[in-house]
Amino acid sequence: MFKRVLIANRGEIALRIIRACRELGIEPVCVYSSADAGGPWLEQAAQAVCIGPPPSKDSYLRIERIIAAAEISHADAIHPGYGFLSENAHFAEVCRDSGFEFIGPSPEAMSALGDKVNCKRLARKAGTPIFPGSDGGIEDIDEAVEVARDIGFPVIVKASGGGGGRGMRIAHDEAGLRQGIEQARQEAAAAFGNPMVFVEKYLELARHFEVQVIGDKHGNAVHLYERDCSSQRRHQKLIEEAPAPGVDPTKREAVCQSAAELIRQAKYSGAATCEFLMDRHQNFYMLEVNTRVQVEHPISEAITGVDIVQTGIRVAAGEHLPYKQSDIRIQGHAMEFRINAEDPARNFMPQAGLVETWIAPGGPGIRLDSHVRAGYRVPTHYDSMVGKLIVHAPTREQCIRRSLGALAEFKVGPIKTTIPLYERLLREELFVNAAHDIKYVERLLAAT
């Protein structure tokens, strides 16, 4: 096992990793930017090294400074957390080349799943359901129309060379598709210098369903069942829950198994998440694989009893996964609420500044992962998440009640947070009945 692990991250996930290291008998070392000097999580580290000024690009994203910090602190492994350099295969490679174990997948496995075409190829092999479509680029419009008829309208036309909404068209019928392909090609050519487009199935009322998986270096992989993260705003997850409510157990079992098989195929070690969209008939379509521990991992920990962060460190150190698939059982229901320093009443305006009041909820089934305390100043340089409230209860209904109580107890000021939004969402009929989809939060917000 490692003696010292350097944590190349900040805030709540740095604290989460510190706690995991401590329990494994590992000394955690933190790096920090000067904006995070005095950050409460640094107190809990065995050592803390300032690596640069506030902007991420000059500190948390500076590979050579992080490696230098690992050198001077005599760390033997580096944990990237989420965000920042966590999905940067080059960073994983530099860590390895510099003699530090990267706590995560090998650069090869990370690249293999990060590349969309390659990932789709592996997924097909593993039996992981993917979006039907033209796969390769469209040479002939008539051929594209045939593909669309096969998979059924609506379909989406996407640029092979880029993203961000450009070169994208949704088509509900053949005429729309023909027109859309023309437009998308022009747009893609202008934006990315590459007119290649492809056609995929388009889902209108989907739910976000993702499977937590974890593998070791010996070819083993298990899944820890799924999470439903359909409560989103602008692709930012707000509430996550596990398990996904109302999903047919046979279908759940199949898609979760296929996700585990996918990372087994990719010779992947560490924690990963296979993200899917689920349509109203409970068909699944893989979006992508996140090759790192995820913000919402605690709800999977709650329902399975598995410590995902500790397991990730152990497999990076070469240990075998300490459990088989048959050891993993779902117990109860869990929800996570991302407490963001944003004002939901004012278009989610960021709320950096001094936290004067921080009264955390407690009692049975309540877990709080946060680096914040009264007197902490939320810096303007990083993301607005100031904590995660994780609620575990025997059933989804009890989980909602327990969450409402905890949110009512949770008092933060004078900065505003997303707490009032969650108190509202938990009373929304669509959510309560699990009849929601990935757009319901935005529709609700637009309607008021």
Partner: protein, 164 residues
């Protein structure tokens, strides 16, 4: 400048009564003292234990604005300035400090060495690359704050220099 005893009296008054700010001015003198009560921003612990500790009363920020404690990176990453008119050469990177350009060589600078902006004052090694650190100003080395072979972090003060 205000009598130091009077100042101490004021500070004691603040601490005892939980004052957070005191601003006094008349024709002759002016004093502004701020103090953080309640939870102080926690001190960074280097190689520290994680034993329980009650929070400490934070240091008072008196004296000239922008003063930074020697040996600590300044919170905003800017250069600090000592009380006594000395300026600090801070580490622009993370690495290991070397005073000389080789194991058998004499130190590049020592207390009393007169330096120009281009004078190399030390080497910092990271990822097996030795980086020359220049004085960036003219003056005389007044103090060497780190030892040969010592690990330094970003913003850490390496030398104090008396500007010429």
């Amino acid at each position: 400048m205000m009598d130091i005893r009077k100042l101490k009296e004021l500070v004691r008054l603040m601490v005892e009564n939980d004052l957070t700010e005191l601003d006094l001015r008349d024709k002759e003198e002016q004093a502004t003292i701020r103090r953080q009560t309640t939870l102080s921003a926690p001190q960074l612990i280097h190689h520290g234990s994680s034993a329980q500790s009650t929070p400490q009363v934070p240091a008072l920020a008196t004296g000239s604005a922008g003063a930074t404690a020697v040996g600590r990176p300044s919170p905003d990453g800017s250069e600090g300035q000592g009380d006594t008119g000395l300026e600090a050469i801070e580490s622009p990177m993370v690495g290991t400090f070397y005073a000389a350009s080789g194991p058998d060589k004499p130190p590049l600078v020592a207390v009393g060495t007169v330096v120009e902006p281009n004078t190399v004052v030390c080497l910092l090694e990271a990822m097996k690359i030795f980086n020359e650190i220049k004085a960036e100003r003219a003056g005389t080395i007044a103090k060497v704050l780190v030892k040969n072979g010592q690990a330094v972090e970003f913003g850490q003060q390496l030398f104090l220099i008396r500007p010429s």
